[in-house]
């Protein structure tokens, strides 16, 4: 089992100090993910999907529960440990791409390798290889604002892939794209999943996206329910 989540629980407190209201966002969430699986988490807006992903990613600590990835408990890591874990194990794909506006496509993809302290010559070959894989060779020197939405999302996917991280976390990866571009990106995800044996956890409220998943979970009022296995080819 690659990822094993057990009894995750999280509560937000909102409102002014002194009159806070507590909002339970995750209630006893448990699920497993196997290596090479595409897992989709669907659910209505506000149901707690993004919160779950953030906790999985280590952006914040859960109130309760455990997350075991590759036999390592990560819910209790400190900030530095969690950052190191992310760098080695996770790639991120965001709805609004989250590219650095002052860096070119090439440099954006290169960034995680710089964080890893890789030498420049190695970085170059690696980035070029990934760019070829996601079909970006032509736009290497473009800045994000000179790229289409689909191209930006490809850059963001390339950045997530470049470190050879085994797990990719995606929050609404096609949320800002038109349906044609969405199809391209979904095909790319499926292709990467097949070729590189990558594990995907995709958050979406779009049933279309969920169709490519091996396993689907539905988030409802902070509870996660399995939706049955099915894969559409």
């Amino acid at each position: 089992m690659m990822i094993k989540v057990n009894n995750l629980q999280h509560t937000f407190s909102i409102g002014k100090k002194g009159k806070e209201k507590t909002v339970p966002v995750l209630r006893d969430v448990s699920f497993d993910v196997k290596r090479g699986e595409i897992v989709a988490i669907v659910g209505k807006s506000g149901s707690g999907k993004s919160t779950l992903l953030q906790i999985l990613a280590g952006f914040m600590k859960p109130e309760h529960g455990s997350i075991v990835v590759n036999a390592q408990e990560i819910a209790s890591l400190n900030e530095a440990g969690s950052a190191k874990f992310r760098l080695d194990n996770y790639g991120f794909i965001f709805q609004n791409f989250q590219l650095m506006p002052s860096l070119t496509a090439f440099e954006n993809i290169e960034l995680p390798l710089k964080l890893k302290g890789m030498k420049i010559s190695e970085r170059r070959t690696r980035v070029e290889m990934i760019m070829k894989k996601v079909g970006l060779t032509e736009v290497a020197d473009h800045y994000p604002n000179e790229l289409s939405g689909g191209q930006q999302q490809r850059v963001s996917i390339a950045r997530a892939l470049v470190t050879n991280a085994p797990i990719l976390l995606a929050d609404e990866p096609t949320g800002s794209l038109d349906s044609e571009t969405e199809q391209d990106i979904l095909m790319l995800i499926q292709q990467l999943n097949r070729e590189l044996d990558l594990t995907f956890i995709i958050i979406t409220h779009d049933e279309e996206v969920a169709m490519i998943a091996d396993k689907r979970f539905r988030m409802h009022d902070g509870k996660l329910v399995k939706d049955g296995d099915h894969r559409v080819i």
Partner: protein
């Protein structure tokens, strides 16, 4: 992240905000330059004072309280036996005038008697010639030749002095006198008393074998005659010929003074202590220097403190710039953290940026300070001379920047720059990823 990549990262951000960073660097430069220039006044004046004190005196000289205190031969032997005492030099000054005649020239000078073996061991080398070996050999002061005047010279000097007086300056007669070497020349010498300068003794003949070095103070005219101690009786006899009655019974023709010389500067203090323990009243110019140094230390610390305030004011600019930089880049910091940059790295990147501002500001400040220091040493004397009409400022150093001052100022301003970047850098590490990523472009 490789160090080179960190540098690239920082430089890229600086390039993006050139103007803002430039203004901050400018403030840091001004603060640091102010600190250096202000403190350089303390260093400069101290150097001038030290030079003033040391220029005409040997630092190894230990003076005896009262100056003309008489030592017995036993006392001299006792002092000389103290460790690291080079010599006890006895100098005898004749309280009468000596008039020298050479060709058609003449001059009036004072006479000193000394033991040249002792003297040679502590004195600066002669400007010319050797020390006397025979009784009728003498050494003369550096300006002796210049003061040897004939009728024509005296006229010229009078004219030049008048012209100088009209301009409000002063002519020292350096263009006249005997210009060739005096070594080997014979002069005739007559003694006269101060009370009756016109009555001269019989002339005695001496040979000049040496010329003393130039005196430390530029404005001193030194034309003394230096003879061996053995000439004392000869001079006494000559003086008897011109003595005015026996007017003052307590008149002494010769005054003796003893000066003790240490082998080198570091022995002066122990010798002073030793001699004081033995009951001698002794002091050294180096003690004056010690007091002076304490005074200047306080002055310099005060000036550096005031200068540091300017650096602190500049640091407010650095703090603001860095806070802005962090706020502006919240989303980018969020992305960096999301993809796995450690909080430490993020803190380091921002600290490097504020350090960069401090370093560039300091480097510029050092360069500017040297220019300002050089210019003020060049121009202030001219301005002061024009304002006061006096010509005494050219050898005063108003500003000096030794490397110690550069190190102190650089430490203060780079340190302050780093400290003022610390809070913004911490703030950057505290940014929450999700909050940051929610910010739209």
């Amino acid at each position: 992240m490789l160090f080179k990549d960190q540098i690239d990262f920082v430089l890229q951000h600086i390039k993006k905000n050139k103007l803002r960073v430039f203004m901050t660097v400018l403030a840091a430069t001004m603060g640091c330059a102010f600190l250096i220039v202000l403190a350089s006044i303390g260093f400069g004046l101290q150097a001038s004072m030290e030079e003033e004190i040391l220029s005409n005196q040997s630092v190894t000289k230990i003076e005896v309280m009262g100056g003309d205190a008489q030592f017995t031969a036993e006392e001299v032997a006792e002092i000389e036996s103290v460790e690291n005492v080079q010599t006890v030099l006895k100098t005898t000054t004749m309280d009468a005038e000596a008039k020298s005649f050479f060709e058609d020239r003449e001059t009036i000078s004072g006479v000193r008697l000394t033991n040249f073996t002792d003297y040679a061991s502590i004195a600066k080398p002669l400007a010319e010639g050797t020390y006397p070996k025979n009784e009728n050999e003498i050494v003369v002061g550096y300006h002796f030749g210049q003061t040897l005047l004939n009728e024509a010279d005296r006229k010229l000097i009078e004219e030049k002095s008048k012209a100088a007086e009209a301009e409000g300056t002063y002519y020292n007669g350096e263009e006249e006198g005997y210009k060739s070497s005096l070594i080997g020349k014979e002069i005739e010498l007559a003694i006269s008393s101060h009370d009756n300068p016109d009555k001269l003794s019989e002339r005695m003949t001496y040979t000049i074998v040496g010329v003393m070095p130039r005196p430390g103070y530029q404005w001193v005219i030194e034309n003394r005659i230096y003879m061996m101690d053995e000439q004392r009786t000869a001079l006494e006899n000559s003086f008897k010929q011109v003595m005015v009655d026996d007017s003052a019974s307590d008149f002494q023709l010769f005054n003796e003074r003893y000066d003790i010389y240490a082998k080198s500067l570091e022995y002066v203090k122990p010798i002073l202590e030793d001699l004081r323990g033995k009951g001698y009243g002794v002091y050294s110019v180096t003690e004056q220097l010690d007091e002076l140094n304490i005074f200047f230390l306080v002055l310099k610390v005060g000036l550096i403190f005031v200068g540091t305030i300017a650096v602190l004011i500049a640091s407010i600019g650095i703090f603001n710039t860095m806070t802005m930089a962090v706020t502006e880049r919240t989303r980018e910091i969020g992305v960096l953290k999301a993809i796995g940059a450690s909080p430490k790295l993020i803190q380091r990147l921002f600290l490097m940026e504020s350090t960069f501002i401090g370093v560039i500001g300091t480097v510029l400040a050092i360069a500017i300070s040297y220019l300002v220091s050089f210019a003020s040493n060049l121009l202030l004397p001219i301005v002061l001379e024009a304002a006061t009409g006096e010509a005494n400022f050219s050898n005063i150093q108003f500003s000096a920047i030794p490397w110690q001052l550069v190190v102190i100022a650089a430490t203060i301003s780079i340190g302050v720059a780093m400290i003022s970047g610390l809070r913004p850098a911490r703030k950057a590490t505290k940014i929450e990823v999700m909050q940051a990523l929610r910010q739209e472009l």
